[in-house]
Every structure is written in structure tokens, then in C-alpha cells.
Point group: C2
Chain length 253, copies 2
């Protein structure tokens, strides 16, 4: 089940950290490492810290954006050590590990996303994440080294895998389908004046959170996409068509 | 309860690793770091990896032997990634964390001991440990970076502390009292021919394991020490005294 899990590092700074992440992955039986943006995997420190996990460094895939790195994933889980407006639904790793394993057991690819060492994941990155993990720490120094944070998450995942997590009830749709749904949602809800054009993401984030918690199957995505396309059509010209039909006493559909 | 827990690094090789251990300790609310033998704490890499935990590096205490480093500890727990003759009673960190917290809640100092990066703890070191931890890993690459291993143990300890572990039933005696008991045990059991002079430690390890599992209070140590001192006396000259008394029809005690 751990084979379906991808580690995604967003703009990692230290190449030694990338090597340490590769070693932690191999220690726990994972192989799929993706990097968004920069990050050197061939440097002396990357290779030195990876020790016997250089094969994972060699297999790294690179993406320009987080959206591309998680496009085929049914579940995207972010990590954060900060609280705050968009982060208060964060849960401890043990709890989220169960959910990840449940999705992974149904064959869905799952991404576990870690931000840059200095700032962590931005709010822009977080909107791609359906769940958030925060590792419990001492308040005096809550910021973990990135490879340490990866290790704790993988340790919980590997224990959860041993316990054989119960299967999730749904087969999650790939993240890219869900992103296209949100694109259509944004366009249509802007047109009907439901979203503030100055800050459309604010309300959209709440919708993302609700749907992320629910989990969307392919057929759910199709239904919701149909709904928002209809709304877009209605907002653009459909209202005229329907008004005309009503005037003439015709059936609307 | 985590304040009573000491991290002991035996002959650590990489100073960057020492820094990473210090950071992991501060992340999880520990302060007490001890080093047996070498290991540089003032180097660039030690300080760089410690980041905001340089205070822990500055507070490091150094000891010539593991025995001295754990002399005041009621519970000494080793870590190993290998199986083998003296290691098959090893348990996963979650299970041992509960026991450590139970002892620590009674006020006993507890040591968590990590071996050198290349070889881990030797059998000589292990005999000081009443419990052993092995972190479950993938068989392809079971050897964790030392700071990663420390982090997983501390993560489990800090979760166990949050759950408020039940109190242990006994107050464990300091390790140095128990070591003196074993010294007396070795001398006396050699004298009576119970231990093989070529390899006295073999049987002693089994005794260490049994008593370690039981846990010894100060009064237990006094009783057992009395027993083996009596045995030593008997083996040295006592038998003659007793034989003499028996010949004369006198009471033995």
C-alpha cells in the first residue's frame, strides 16, 4: 500500500535534506519522490545523506508546479507546523495516516507534500491539499527539520500499513479532475456574483475543504462539473434562452 | 515527565548528527544530552544542524563510559536495528515509550541510548540496557540515520506523555546500584563455578534480562546484594567456618 504514496518536496533548499528524505523513504519502503521547482539531487551532500538510497535520488521526478506534481493523485495531504486561518483543520500524523492508507488501499495515488525549509507550504500550495498534518511538538521550538518531519509521517504510515487499515468507502478521483472542477466552479460563481472578484479564493477554499473532506469519486466530479458548466452557460447566455422559452410557454428542459 | 529522560550518544561519529539530535530533542521538549567518548559539539556542522537548539549542545555532558553516563538512571533503554542472540527481546518504540513514561512519572531518571552510526550499540553496551527498542523498517534498508532514530523515539515519548501514562508500580533503583549488584553476582557465581570463566557474561546477560524486566527497587538491590555477598564469603572462606561449626554441632547462623 505504501507504493501508492508519493513524497512531494516543494522548493527544497538544502540538498543534504533531499538526501535525508530519500534515505527515510527507503527505510520505510517508499520509492516515489517528486520535487517542485529547484533542489539539487546530484550534489555531494544529497548523495552523502542518502547513503544507500541513491536509487531514489536518481528516480526523482521534477515538476514546475505543485498542481502538476499531484495531477494523478486521489488524495493530497499537506504538512504545516503553523496554525492560522487556512490551517486550523490540521490533524496529527497518526490520524491522517489511517486515512491515507485507506485511500491507498483502494488503489488511489496519494501525495504527501512538504514545503520549503524556511517558510513551509504557502496558502497557495495548501489549497491543493484535502488534508493537513501537523506534528505535535514542544511550543519552544515547533519547527522540525524537513527530513525529520518526513520520517515521522512515514513511520506512522508504515505502522498503519502493518495494522492493515480499513478500506475507504470511495475511490477518489485524480487531483487534476478535481482542479478542473474548481476552475469551472470559480468561473461560474464569479459570473453569478457569488465570489468576490477581489478575493475569489477565500470562499473557494471553504468549498475545497468541504469537498476534500467528503472525497470525490470520478462520477461526483462529473456531476458537479456538469452543474457548474450549466451555471456558466446560464450566466453567459442561458438566462436569455430560458426567458424566451418561458415567454412562449415552452418547457425549459 | 520528559525532563527525566536523557539521550545518551555512544561514540557518535558525525558532528552534524549530534546537532540534528539536539534539534530533535528541543522539538520534543527534552534537554538532557550526554555523550560517551568522542563527538564534536562545537563544529560548524553540529551548530548548523542544531539551528535553534545550540543551548542543548552547550549543555552536553561527557562521560568516559556508558556505565558512568547512566549511573543515576533507574531505567536504561538501548536501541538496535539488528536482531541476534542478545537482541531478540527488543520491542517497538510505541510499546517501550509507555514503560519509559511510567518509570519517569515515578521520578526515575531514564536513559535512551544510541550507538555509533556505523555499528550501533555493542553487546558490551547492551548489557547496561534493561529494555531494547527496534524501529520497524523496510527489510531492504533497515538502518536509520541516528538523528532520525532519536526523533522517532522522542515523537513516541512525547505522544505517550500527552496521553498521561499510568504510573509504574515500583521506584527503580539507580543503574549504578544495580551494576554493583551484578559485579558481586559475577564474582560470587564465578567462585562457585556457576559461570564459565571463559565467558561469564553469557549467563549474566540472561540474569540481567530477567531482573531488568522485573525492575529492581533499592530494597531489592540490597537483598540481592546481601545474597551474593554471602555467597562470595561462603566461597572464599565461609565453607570452612560452616564445616567447622557443623563438626562441633553448633548452629550455622
Amino acid at each position: 500500500m505504501l507504493e501508492n504514496i508519493r513524497i512531494v518536496l516543494v522548493e527544497p533548499k538544502g540538498s543534504g535534506n533531499i538526501g535525508s528524505v530519500a534515505r527515510a523513504m527507503k527505510n520505510m519502503g517508499l520509492k516515489d519522490l517528486a520535487i517542485v521547482g529547484g533542489g539539487r539531487t546530484k550534489s555531494f551532500w544529497a548523495r552523502a545523506m542518502a547513503v544507500h538510497a541513491k536509487d531514489i535520488l536518481q528516480g526523482v521526478r521534477r515538476f514546475a508546479t505543485l498542481r502538476e506534481a499531484v495531477a494523478d493523485c486521489g488524495l493530497v495531504v499537506g504538512t504545516t507546523c503553523r496554525g492560522g486561518l487556512y490551517r486550523d483543520h490540521s490533524r496529527p500524523p497518526r490520524e491522517v495516516a489511517q486515512r491515507i492508507l485507506s485511500s491507498s488501499a483502494r488503489g488511489a495515488k496519494c501525495a504527501l507534500v512538504f514545503g520549503p525549509e524556511d517558510h513551509g507550504l504557502s496558502n497557495r500550495d495548501l489549497k491543493h491539499c484535502q488534508w493537513l498534518i501537523t506534528i505535535p511538538t514542544h511550543p519552544d521550538y515547533p519547527s522540525l527539520n524537513i527530513a525529520q518531519a518526513v520520517m515521522i509521517c512515514l513511520y506512522e504510515l508504515s505502522l498503519a500499513a502493518l495494522e492493515k487499515a480499513p478500506q475507504e468507502m470511495i475511490s477518489r478521483a485524480p487531483a487534476e479532475s478535481v482542479e478542473r472542477l474548481f476552475d469551472s466552479m470559480r468561473r461560474s460563481l464569479l459570473k453569478i456574483g457569488f465570489l468576490d472578484p477581489q478575493n475569489p479564493e477565500h470562499i473557494l477554499l471553504a468549498l475545497r475543504r468541504i469537498l476534500g473532506r467528503a472525497g470525490l469519486e470520478e462520477k461526483d466530479v462529473r456531476i458537479l462539473t456538469g452543474l457548474f458548466r450549466q451555471l456558466e452557460w446560464y450566466a453567459a447566455e442561458g438566462w436569455k434562452v430560458i426567458e424566451e422559452k418561458q415567454k412562449k410557454g415552452l418547457k425549459i428542459r
